[in-house]
Structures are given as C-alpha cells and as structure tokens.
C-alpha cells in the first residue's frame, strides 16, 4: 500500500527559523508542505522519510530567506491495481458503498463491482444497506464491518488553482454520481470475489453458502466483464 517517492524541491528557510538545526528546519518545511496531502498522480503523502542531498543555502534578495535545493524521500500511500486492502464500510447510497481506512476516506465500491447481479438495496429505518442476495441467503454489507477489498481503479482530479480553469459556477461542494465531493485522489474498489467483503461472511456456518454463491456463473461473468472494462 505504501511506496517511497523521491522528490526534488527548493526548501525555503525563513530567518525566524535560523535557530533551528538545519535538518529540523528542512524536515519541518517538507512535512508542512507534503504531509497528509495528495500529489497529483503520485499518491497521498504521509511524511518525510529521509534526506538524499541538500545543497548550500542561497540567500534571496530582500527577504533574507535561505533557499536550499533538496532531494528527499517521502512515504506515500498508493495501493497498486489488484491489491487487496482492508477497510471498513462507512456509508452506503444508491450508487454504491463508501469505504474508509481512517487515514484515507475517498474509497468507493460502486454497485457494479459488488457481488452478483442479484444485488439489491433495502431501506432499513431510513438508512440504506446493500445486501447480497445469494440463493437463499442474505449477506449484508453492514456499516463498520471490517472488509477486504480489491483496488480496481484510481481517479485523479487536479485541483491546484493554476492547473485547471474552473467555470465560474463550479461548485466545490457539488457531489458527483458516487455521492462524493470532488477529491484529488479516489480509489474504486470491488468486493465481488470469494474472500472479499465483510470478514464475517467467510467464517462460520455461512462460509460454505457464501463460497458456493460466489462461484455461481452469473457472479463470475459479471466480475470478468467489469474487470476487463476497468
């Protein structure tokens, strides 16, 4: 799920930070800029990992800011396609299920990538829950269930001001088809193979029924078609 990304950047050390040891000033600057932020088409940064090299400081005119050319590594979250990762179900709507990993919440499992075409949705007390109707058994995608999911697709949206000329009436709060706000990095996952979805399904007495249903021809074909399209 995690990789090391090498970056070259120009670190600016302000006079107010001159008392800091250089290493600390550089690390803090890098963490302020990158930690918990998404780099377009690279991933979600966790933090500064290690320094590769740093040039001598060059003092800029007027401000007294010292510029240092730094090569460094960051720890970045970016699961690869086909990776099996763990998360919990956070909410559901008509188009699918939203998954969360705590530190990363923009994960969507659209209806088409859930078990079997025999998928329907039940309204229980006002909130929606997706249910896999497999033969005579009902398997529920309940909120807060721990699940395994398979990463199928990444979607990147460049939200930096200079990259994209947005229309005047562009609404940052608008939600798209999946019910999510525009976000820089989104994962589309599937839960349609034996072993994926809530852990509970594959343990205990219902496990056999689940395995049988997962192997049903309509489920397998659906999955293959969707995977090829992805």
């Amino acid at each position: 799920m995690y990789t090391l990304v090498t970056v070259a950047d120009v670190v600016e050390i302000h006079p107010r930070d001159f008392h800091k040891p250089s290493k600390r000033a550089i690390e803090d600057w890098i963490n302020t800029k990158y930690a918990d932020k998404v780099i377009h088409k690279v991933g979600l940064c966790v933090g500064f990992h290690s320094l590769i090299s740093a040039s001598e400081g060059l003092i800029g005119h007027g401000t007294g800011i010292v510029n240092v050319n730094v090569d460094f590594r960051l720890i970045v979250f970016r699961p690869f396609k086909g990776e099996i990762i763990r998360g919990t179900i956070s909410s559901s709507n008509e188009s699918g299920i939203h998954m969360s990993m705590g530190f990363f919440e923009d994960i969507v499992a659209p209806a088409a990538l859930l078990f079997g075409p025999s998928q329907t949705e039940l309204e229980e007390g006002g909130s929606r829950t997706w249910v896999w109707k497999a033969d005579e058994n009902d398997f529920y995608f309940d909120r807060t269930e721990k699940c395994l999911m398979r990463v199928e697709q990444e979607t990147w949206t460049d939200l930096s001001p200079q990259m994209k000329k947005l229309d005047e009436d562009f609404d940052m709060e608008a939600r798209d088809a999946a019910g999510l706000r525009s976000c820089p990095y989104r994962l589309t996952v599937s839960m349609a193979l034996t072993g994926l979805g809530p852990d509970l399904w594959w343990l205990g007495e219902q496990a056999e029924a689940a395995e049988e249903a997962a192997k049903a021809p309509e489920n397998v074909e659906e999955t293959n078609e969707v995977e090829m399209a992805a």
């Binding site: 302020t32 500064f48 720890i75 976000c183 072993g195």
Partner: protein, 220 residues
C-alpha cells in the same frame, strides 16, 4: 476562494513558483509493518526531542511540529493498531530485523516448496496473512489453475509457520521457534532515525518486480 479551500492537494508557499519535481514516483514498495514501525519511531523521536528541548528551556523557541504531519502520523498509527493486522498480539513480530528475516523466510520457504508467487503476491501475503483458502484466493490470481488444493493448503501452512497464525486466539498449534523468540527490539533502531537511516525495504530475492533490491536503499 473556494478552490483554494481544498486542503488535500499539495500547496506550495507561492503557487506560481512551485517547481517541485518527482524524480521517482514510487518504485520501492514498503510493507504495512515497515510503515507502522516508521510511524512509531517518528513519534517516539519527536517526543524525545521535544522533551530534551523542554529540559534545556527551549520550549517555544524551536517552534512546534507541523499539525498536518502529526495528524497524518496519528491517523496511520490508528489504522495500524487495528486488530486485523498480522502483528496484533503476535509474538513473532518483535522488531525490524525480525521482520526482514520473516519476509525472507517466507520467500525461501515458498521457493523450496516450488510454489511460485509473484512479488506483489508475496507482499500481500505479508500484509494480510491469509489463514483460509477464500482469502488466499483473493491474493493469488487464478489460484485454482496454478495450484491444486494440496499446494494451496501448503501455502497457508507456510504462511502460518512463518508469520504466526492464530496464537492470539490461544491456538497452541503454533510453535515458536527458539530463534524467533530470542530476538529483542534493538535499542539502536530508534537512534538511527536521527540520521535519516533508511528503513529496510522489502528484500528482492530474484527476478524482476516492483520491489527494489535492499542495496538501493543505502545509496544516501
């Protein structure tokens, strides 16, 4: 302006002049355990330095840590502390050196049994530690055509032996080897963080794959 209010994309100090370059977008893969250890070390080191500053009366002189960094570390640590990870309540995971050894043991054991798995599958085995066939099937693609049932069970057996399997549930079948329990977390590990020592990457045995060789980690 609403477009700047989104906090999740990387924002330079001065947008127009932001020239950061990605020289390597991620060719080295880290396991979840690598990252968990790293987060713990970062927090411990930060705490240690802050306490030192307090003792020397420098609190407030050296400014605090970036809030977004602390938030990222906290959130990742929270995720890593959840009970579905293989290291939870598992005596086999005692330190950084053991982890690399475990990864290598896993690779060697599978190799000795002629069970061919791709690098990414190996990493997933290490991250999710499957204990049942359904979960193994999610990790190993086309499992039924590559391995017969006996071989599949063999993979599970190897995973259980090397990574531990269910001791936390009081399963007495898991045998702790003498060498596994002897190792103790190194004191030097935490000190190494100060020098920006690289975290051990997942070792590459043979063949091509997304996981780089351990040697490349020590170029710095």
């Amino acid at each position: 302006m609403s477009r700047i209010s989104n906090p999740r994309y990387v924002q330079g100090l001065n947008e127009a002049n932001d020239h950061f370059i990605i020289t390597d977008p991620g060719s080295v893969m880290l396991s979840n355990h690598d990252v968990m250890n790293w987060v713990q070390e970062q927090k411990a080191h930060a705490r240690q330095v802050d306490e030192q500053e307090e003792r020397e009366g420098l609190t407030g002189v050296v400014s605090g840590r970036p809030a977004n960094w602390l938030h990222a570390l906290d959130k990742v640590e929270e995720y890593m502390n959840r009970d579905f990870h293989p290291w939870h309540n598992n005596p086999k995971y005692t330190g950084r050196k053991d982890r690399n050894k475990m990864y290598r043991d896993l690779m060697v054991a599978l190799d000795d049994a002629d069970l061919e798995l791709v690098k990414t599958e190996l990493l997933m085995l290490f991250n999710t530690r499957p204990l049942t066939l359904p979960v193994l099937g999610t990790i190993v693609e086309e499992m039924d055509s590559r391995f017969d049932e006996e071989e599949q069970l063999q993979i599970l057996e190897i995973v259980k032996n090397v990574l531990g399997g269910g001791e936390e549930d009081g399963d007495t079948d898991a045998v702790a080897d003498g060498e596994d329990t002897a190792a103790v977390a190194d004191g030097e590990d935490t000190a190494a963080v100060a020098d920006g020592e690289d975290m051990d990457a997942v070792a590459d045995g043979e063949g091509a794959g997304p996981v780089a060789k351990e040697e490349t980690m020590h170029e710095a």
